[in-house]
């Protein structure tokens, strides 16, 4: 009986040790890189930045429709991350942490400016081009892309944000909901509306 207990204790200690080792095996994960940066490894931050700079920038750009503001917000988000490095604890996926930071910063920015986030164009304002005419193939493509972006930009901010998070981060609906602080059903509903509207453009 005594030996059984001793074996159990040893087994527990070994499993704890294995868990600690497992954390090191995923050394290139976002979380590990952030921890390394928190320990003072600047090169880890560089890897992390290069991995996420494009998606975060596009997320900001598509949300605020203004390149200058997007760059400003983008820089501030990364600065926030840099300043928060010492307090970083792996409690969720790094992507969730980063985009929550970006989402909150975007909301704060527009609250401070007292600006109402409105779509650039309403659905009704979009002119649907006549496909029966015979434009060139290239022009057709460009027009389609323009229409797509027009529809995307015309989506309500909430729907657009869910779509952007899905496209840029490949998070699942649950993670998206956690990032922007809504429930799963709300996230699903917003994405459904966004996809429905975008699909109409594709079908034209």
């Amino acid at each position: 009986m005594l030996f059984n207990r001793m074996y159990l204790c040893l087994f527990y200690l070994l499993s704890v040790r294995d868990k600690l080792h497992l954390m090191d095996t995923s050394i290139d994960s976002d979380e590990a890189l952030m921890l390394r940066y928190a320990e003072g490894d600047a090169s880890a931050f560089e890897v992390l930045y290069l991995r996420h700079k494009g998606p975060v920038y596009r997320y900001m750009l598509k949300l605020c429709h203004n390149e200058a503001i997007a760059e400003e917000l983008f820089q501030e988000v990364w600065m926030k991350l840099i300043n928060a490095r010492e307090n970083y604890v792996v409690s969720a996926k790094f992507t969730t942490y980063l985009y929550r930071l970006a989402h909150n910063h975007f909301i704060d920015h527009y609250r401070k400016q007292n600006i109402r986030i409105v779509p650039e164009q309403s659905d009704e304002a979009i002119e649907v081009t006549d496909t029966d005419c015979d434009p060139e193939q290239q022009v057709q493509m460009e027009q389609t892309i323009d229409r797509f972006n027009q529809i995307l930009n015309s989506l309500p901010q909430e729907q657009r944000e869910v779509f952007l998070l899905k496209e840029e981060t490949e998070m699942n609906l649950q993670e998206i909901a956690e990032t922007i602080g809504i429930n799963y059903e709300a996230a699903k509903s917003r994405l459904r509306y966004a996809i429905n509207k975008l699909k109409t453009v594709m079908e034209l």
Partner: protein, 274 residues
């Protein structure tokens, strides 16, 4: 198919991945921050690290003290486990009781000697002790029942075993106590006198020999009186008178009748007549 169902289907297709919407979005949207912004952020990140370089966090398994601490923890854990197990199985209780019993054997053996000397004297005391012990045992009989009610499964057996051991230990302690009490009773002067009366000289110890002293004194007196008697029989009356005088001075409490018995009535009357 209703509109809602169509929307759900479209959503499911989109969530499965590789939808036309995703392809089109990714083909069109490839913007990124300017290189100057990249440099700004990266240099800020480097500066932040170099300005206040925090003490590197040492992971437990990488720390130099990890192995000794782990070994010490394992040893401590093992030792405490062993101790706990011993306490649970009652080994320590058993060993304690053995130690106590071992320590009791010496005084117990010492006690046997006076007991053998005067078993009759000790008997009433031991009888009292046995009665008291039996009365005490009745109170212990309740404990296992309570344990049986409260305990569950194997733990109950363990509890009962340890209770029984504890009981045995306490019983042996009580026996020792009463034996000691008996010895104290025996060492009282009146008991020792009784011992002296009944004990064989070969078995008597120093204390009982001390108790024999009054007997040896009376025989000495008799011896002296017998000497006086022999002097009288030999006709040495003066010497006999002197000796008797000395005897009376030294043993003033010795009765005349006792003297008369030892010396004899006629001879005693002969000394006193003159």
């Amino acid at each position: 198919m209703s509109n809602h169902e169509q929307d759900d289907k479209a959503l499911d297709e989109y969530l499965e991945g590789n939808s036309e919407i995703s392809k089109r979005y990714r083909a069109e949207n490839t913007e990124g921050p300017s290189s100057s912004l990249d440099e700004k952020i990266l240099s800020a990140a480097k500066e932040a690290v170099t300005e206040s370089k925090p003490k590197p966090r040492i992971r437990f398994h990488k720390a130099p003290w990890a192995k000794p601490v782990s070994i010490a923890a394992i040893i401590t854990l093992s030792v405490s486990l062993i101790i706990t197990m011993q306490q649970e199985t009652g080994q320590s209780v058993m060993s304690d009781s053995k130690e106590i019993n071992g320590s009791l054997t010496t005084p117990a053996k010492k006690l046997v000697k006076p007991q053998s000397i005067s078993a009759d004297a000790v008997a009433p005391v031991m009888q009292d002790a046995e009665i008291k012990l039996n009365n005490d045992e009745t109170s212990y009989d309740i404990a296992p029942d309570e344990a049986a009610l409260g305990a569950v499964g194997g733990y109950r057996e363990k509890m009962q075993r340890s209770k029984a051991e504890l009981e045995a230990r306490q019983r042996s302690e009580r026996k020792l106590m009463f034996k000691e009490k008996a010895r104290n009773e025996m060492e009282k002067p009146e008991v020792l006198e009784e011992q002296a009366l009944f004990a064989a000289p070969a078995e008597a110890d120093m204390s009982s020999m001390a108790a024999m002293e009054p007997v040896s004194t009376s025989s000495e007196q008799e011896q002296l009186l017998l000497e006086i008697k022999s002097l009288l029989e030999q006709g040495q009356l003066e010497q006999a008178k002197e000796k008797l005088k000395l005897f009376r001075e030294s043993y003033s409490d010795y009765s005349e009748e006792a003297m008369k018995e030892v010396i004899g009535e006629e001879l005693f009357g002969m000394i006193n007549s003159d």
